[in-house]
Structures are given as C-alpha cells and as structure tokens.
C-alpha cells in the first residue's frame, strides 16, 4: 500500500471512529427521549433525524456549506470562538458526518429502547433505582444489540458516504481526502487498478462488518424476547 493510500485509509478510519463516538454520545439520549416521550414535537424531531435518509447528499452538503461558511450562522459562531471555518477541514467533515449518519445510529437505538417493556423499567423503580440508574443498569444493557447495530451502521455509513464529503471536505490529502473520494478521483484519472484495489477493499469491509453484525446480534435478540 502506498503512503498516499495509507494516509487516506487512516483518515477515513479516524473520521468514522470519531464520528461514531460523537454519534453515540448524542444519539443515545436522543433515541431514549424519542422512545419514551409523549411530547407533541416527537414526530417533528423523528422526521428531522430521518431527513438524511431521504434527502440527496448534495442537498445536505449544500446547506451545511452555507451554514458553516463565512456568512452562515454556524460559520460566524466558529469564527467567533476562534476555531476558524469548518468547510474543507477535518472538523467540518466530522460535523457533516455526524449529521448525515444520525438516523443510522438513532433509529436502531430507538427501536431497541422501544422494545423494552415498560413494566421492566417500572420494576427497577420499585427496586429503588432512580431514573438515571434505570437507564444505565436496565435500559442500556437490554438495548445492547441495538447499540451494536447503531455503532456498526454509523461507522460503516460514515466510511461509505461520498456526496456530502465531497461538498464539505473537498479532496485535500491528509485532511479531507477519504476513501470514497479517492476512488472517485482514481476513476476520473482512469487509474482503474488503484480504483479497483480500494473499491474491492470497501466491498470486503462492508461484507465482513455486516456478517459479523448479524452473527453477533442473533442470540442477544433472543434474550430480549425473553423479557416479554
């Protein structure tokens, strides 16, 4: 593997890992809220989370670019904080990844939380567990399969995204040039052998990830079924 390729692979993994971490930190409380709330704004919140599923990546990329640009509110805010501008930086890519991968993390988590019978959480309350205690000792362990699915999908989807990355990050080696963009560039330059190597690697990666996920999650699903 050439140095350039290695840098690209490492950057891709770093981006996906950091984004997944942030997604879990943000997405878990959001999914818990969505799973338990009876609030009137729940449909709106759920729809906003799901938007990246239906919108073309170019639309998300375009608006993120405007928001984070020098005249956008987010851009002005980051400049005011002294962080500079986000577009065409690694930080900008992380922000964009968190937004477009959000549904892939929130939805499996939300489904896992919704599958926990209310009476099990109430039982924990009658056994003196405070709400936070119930969340960490009952809800999270029971949602473990969903947590795993969410992590893997969030990671894999961040690795696989192309459109938003191209619009927000561009193609700066070592900063914003990730695998999907590199493949595109190789194809543009008619370097099919390099394109092949990366593309085949992605196919194998995706297959291994999904097979592992489905294998690991099967028995766990049985144990949740026993909660009924």
């Amino acid at each position: 593997m050439s140095d350039a390729t290695w840098i690209t692979v490492r950057l891709t993994i770093e981006l996906a890992a950091l984004s997944t971490l942030l997604l879990l930190l943000l997405g878990t409380p959001l999914a818990w809220w969505l799973a338990r709330t009876r609030s009137a704004i729940k449909p709106l919140a759920a729809s906003l989370v799901a938007m990246p599923l239906v919108l073309p990546p170019s639309v998300i990329g375009f608006y993120l670019l405007l928001l984070m640009g020098p005249h956008g509110p987010v851009g002005q805010f980051t400049q005011w904080l002294g962080l500079g501008r986000l577009p065409f930086t690694f930080g900008g890519l992380v922000v964009a990844s968190v937004i477009y991968s959000l549904p892939f993390v929130v939805q499996p988590l939300q489904q896992a939380f919704e599958a926990i019978p209310e009476r099990v959480l109430e039982a924990a309350a009658t056994l003196r567990a405070s709400p936070l205690d119930r969340f960490f000792t009952v809800a999270l362990p029971l949602a473990r399969p969903g947590l795993l699915t969410a992590s893997v999908l969030g990671f894999a989807h961040t690795v696989g995204e192309f459109g938003v990355v191209l619009m927000i990050g561009g193609n700066i080696p070592g900063q914003t040039r990730v695998l999907s963009v590199a493949i595109f560039e190789h194809v543009e330059a008619a370097e099919f052998e390099q394109a092949h190597r990366l593309a085949a690697g992605m196919v194998v990666f995706a297959l291994v990830v999904l097979v592992t996920l489905y294998r690991v999650n099967r028995p766990a699903r049985d144990s949740l079924g026993a909660a009924r």
Binding site: R119, A123, T126, L127, R128, S130, P141, L142
Partner: protein
C-alpha cells in the same frame, strides 16, 4: 395504618377512593376488571399520579395539600405484577441483588436490624424455595418459578409494604397451586402488610384477612374478610360462589373415616382429612348454595355437619332467598351490638334456598333453626 385518599379522572371512569388499611395481614382489593383496583395499587406505588394523599404510618409518600411527592424509587415497597418483570440480562442471583443493594444503600444499616431479620436474604430465598435457581437466567425459568423469584426480589428489599397485582392471574391451575402455599407461608411468617389485587374469589378466600370491594372506581365496602363475606346485601353474595370463610383450628383426626374435626367459636365442623396437625389454624369455606335449613334438628340425615343457628336476615328475589345465619342458639338476643363489641365476632353463615321454601317454613328473623352444611372446603 396505610392511609390513602386518591382521585383520578380517566376518560372511561373516575377513581375516587379513601382507604384505611391495617398494617398487618393481607388486604385484598377485589372487584370486576376495570373497577380501578390496579390503578389504586399503581397510585400507592407512585407509578401513577393520582390526586390525594398516601401515607404509611407516619411516613407520608404523597400529600397534594403540602406538595409532597416521593417518586417510586424512594418508597420502601415491593411490587409484584402478573408477568414477573425480571431483568432478562441478569441471572436470578443478580435479580435479587439489584433491589437489595439499592434498598440497603438507601436505608443505611437499617436492614441489619433484628427487626428486619425476616428479610435476611437467605430466609427469603428459603421462604420461596428458589435456592436451586440462583444461577439461572429468567428465560430458562417456568412461569411459576419466575413469579417466585419476582416475589423474592421484592422481599429482598425489606419493604414496609408489599403490593401484588394479580400475581397468579397469568399462571395455569397447577402453577397457581404451586405458588399459593408460598404466599400462605409469606403471610404466616412476615409481619408485612400486603395489598393484593385480584378478581379471583378463591384467592381472596384463601389468603385475605381484609377485603376492599371496589366497583367502578369507588369503594363499595371494606372490612374484615369474614364479616364482608357474610353480608347478604353486597354484590359478593349474589355470585354463584358466594359463601363465608370461617377461621378454625384442627381438633382431631378420624383416620378410619378420613375426616378431621375443626373447631371454631361456637361450633365444630367435620371436613375431609387435612394434613394440618391438631391445634393448627385452618380456614374453612362454606358456600351459600351448600347450606340448607330445618326448623327441627334433623334426626336421620346423611349430612354430617348440622349447626344450630339463628336467622338474622333474609333477602329474597323472584325465586331464591339468601339467609344470613348466626351460629349458636344461646345468648343470641342478649348480646346484641354491645355483645359484638365486647366478645369475638360471632360466626355467620349464608344459606341460599328457594323463596318458596322460605315461605313454606314461614321464616322470620330471630327464628332458631338448624343449618345443614353439605360441603366444607378447607384451604
């Protein structure tokens, strides 16, 4: 004393109850489905927010007048529901430890008190016979085992009040028969007040000391079980399995005929031989439809149990009449209400006869009669 005044308006019914429950023994909340008994229990536990006041002794759990509200996890109670809500990701041992650890932390060292020794973990495990299950996962347990673990898990927190919401309703008859003896042991062993929601009369007759009859969100009647069951003017008395429960002690066994004689205030009954030893307490259930009356002591009868009684009241509808009978001929009129307050409550029976028989015998309150009892069930 458990004192609760709760009101709650729902779309389909309004709950409005005031309960004073004794701090000892099992109180059954009994009524048809939809009468609000589960809602009352959930409100006592703080799982449902009804308006009003809930206090256990001098410990106030909720008082809207002063704005007091303790969330469920700060109330020292145990809660057992129909489907044992065990934690599927923990084995039985860890399920028991879950509440015990937290309640001990909340109570400091209070649970090490000799007063709370009935709740030593070992004795709880022993009481419910779950020692062999400790390493098992809930998914591998039978329905009856799960329910026993759920009860043990609730008791392991050394609760001051145990709330049970139809704990046997999800079980088939053999599983039910498996659990009932454990509940009776619980009842005998622990000085813990239990509020027990059910719509099964056999569970009430077997377990309850006190009864609260709920109907459409309101308390229809409340009091000691034996008294309420013997009241002919309650909806209970109109049911096919209407009947009284008599607290008795075993006097002797007649092994040759497979019978046992049990004794109670004012009389004795022969029943099918029981495994209880002489001197042990038992409950005898006598259904109204198994009791008939005669004016003279029956001479040659196959009925083995004949008790002298005084007719107290008679309620008739088109074809049947329900008689309330007080056991014993002597001292009936002299006692009256004053006698009731001083001495033990007299034992009462209900008898369901045809209205025509009632007219033929020209029955009047105060008549001295003989009750022929065709069936007595020990429970």
């Amino acid at each position: 004393m458990i004192d609760a005044r709760l009101t709650l308006a729902r779309r389909d019914f309004t709950l409005d109850v005031a309960l004073q429950l004794p701090e000892r023994g099992i109180t059954a909340l009994f009524g048809p489905s939809g009468c609000g008994k589960t809602t009352v229990l959930r409100a006592l536990a703080g799982l449902e927010r009804a308006a009003g006041r809930v206090a256990l002794g001098d410990e106030v759990w909720q008082d809207d007048a002063t704005g007091q509200w303790r969330p469920t996890h700060q109330r020292p109670l145990g809660y057992v529901i129909q489907e044992a809500a065990l934690f599927p990701h923990l084995d039985v041992r860890a399920n028991l430890a879950y509440g015990r650890k937290r309640s001990r932390a909340a109570d400091g060292l209070a649970t090490d008190d000799p007063a709370a020794s009935g709740f030593a973990l070992d004795s709880v495990i022993d009481l419910l016979g779950i020692a062999p299950l400790m390493a098992r996962r809930p998914a591998t347990l039978s329905g009856g085992e799960r329910q026993r673990v759920a009860i043990a898990r609730a008791l392991a927190t050394a609760p001051r009040l145990l709330l049970m919401d139809e704990p046997l309703a999800a079980l088939d008859a053999p599983r039910k028969a498996e659990i009932l003896p454990y509940l009776e042991r619980l009842h005998r062993t622990l000085a813990l007040p239990i509020v027990y929601v059910t719509h099964a009369m056999d569970e009430v007759a077997r377990l309850a000391d006190h009864l609260v009859l709920l109907d459409a969100g309101r308390v229809r009647a409340a009091g000691p079980l034996a008294e309420l069951l013997a009241q002919p003017d309650l909806p209970l008395a109109r049911q096919d399995d209407a009947g009284v429960v008599i607290a008795a002690t075993v006097a002797e066994h007649d092994r040759a005929y497979g019978l046992s004689r049990v004794q109670f205030e004012g009389g004795t009954l022969w029943v099918g031989q029981t495994s209880a030893a002489p001197g042990e307490g038992v409950r005898a259930r006598v259904l109204a439809r198994d009791v008939s009356v005669t004016r003279q002591a029956p001479l040659q009868t196959s009925v083995i149990n004949v008790l002298p009684v005084v007719l107290e009241s008679m309620q008739a509808d088109r074809s049947t009449a329900l008689l309330q009978l007080r056991v014993g001929h002597a001292g009936g009129d002299a006692g009256g209400d004053a006698g009731r307050a001083a001495g033990p409550t007299p034992v009462r029976l209900l008898a369901r006869i045809t209205r025509r028989s009632g007219d033929t015998l020209a029955l009047q309150p105060g008549d001295a009669l003989f009750a022929q009892i065709k069936g007595v069930a020990l429970m």
